[in-house]
Symmetry: C2
Subunit: 152 residues, 2 copies
């Protein structure tokens, strides 16, 4: 991984989020956890990732309160990984990445997995909006910096 300054103290919540999540692997682990995976072997098979890297990422995600370990559902000695409430709150991030991928990274007619409402089969979509519910784009938005941070 490229060495960089930590963004942990950054005033920008996006930057802190990127710092907290860690890297792409971590976000793919989160995706698989949303998809119902909980066991080390399941993540490994899904991601094709080396054991030591997976161990490290699972440990970091747990330390940061995104995953938590729980005793195995089958009563075995293994532990399983489960999204915490903080981890589940990453759902909109996953949906946003998915939506962009669907829009731009598939050829017309090319098949892709779909995120749907379980009960109705309706596609899950994401809307950026104002407090009173109007859709809003990047052009109409502006970032208000924290005054103390502006001078740097």
């Amino acid at each position: 991984m490229v060495k960089r300054k930590s963004l942990k103290g950054d005033y920008c919540p996006s930057a802190r989020s990127l710092d907290a999540i860690g890297d792409w692997w971590s976000l793919l682990i989160v995706r698989d956890a949303f998809d119902g995976m909980s066991r080390f072997g399941e993540f490994q098979k899904s991601l094709g990732i080396a054991r030591n890297i997976l161990s490290d990422r699972l440990r970091t995600l747990t330390a940061r309160g995104i995953l938590e370990t729980v005793p195995a559902a089958d009563g075995g000695a293994r532990q399983e990984y489960r999204l915490t409430a903080k981890g589940r709150d990453l759902f909109p991030v996953m949906v946003a990445l998915r939506q962009w991928g669907e829009q731009h990274l598939f050829a017309p007619g090319e098949k892709h997995s779909r995120l749907v409402e379980r009960s109705s089969g309706q596609t899950v979509r994401l809307l950026v909006r104002t407090e009173d519910g109007r859709p809003i784009g990047a052009e109409e938005s502006v970032i208000l910096k924290v005054p103390e941070a502006e001078e740097s």
Copy 2:
């Protein structure tokens, strides 16, 4: 950067998006571009990133159609970087990361930058919803895999 299999051919749009975006640096460059930055020096100052790494990431983002180069607005010899339509469509990803950061990575009362509607000052929010507009959470959603991809 950790070596990994490419996710370019993955059936999951989230995985392809992560692959296309590249890494955290790239997403922070995109954030700064949304924030109005366009010049090499502006990105460098904002991110505290080595010139060679920044060059590489700008080149990759341009090759992937997320940024495009345009002649400098002041008529100088420099080129500037601008988000393409594909790049601007990453707006919901940035908003989602920001919102999660605001929820979970700041102490109560701690200051952070805010994303607001330029004209009204209203906070920009993000809603995950069904096609007919109902809010929906991760628990009510399910990923439908592409049949051909299921056997692996």
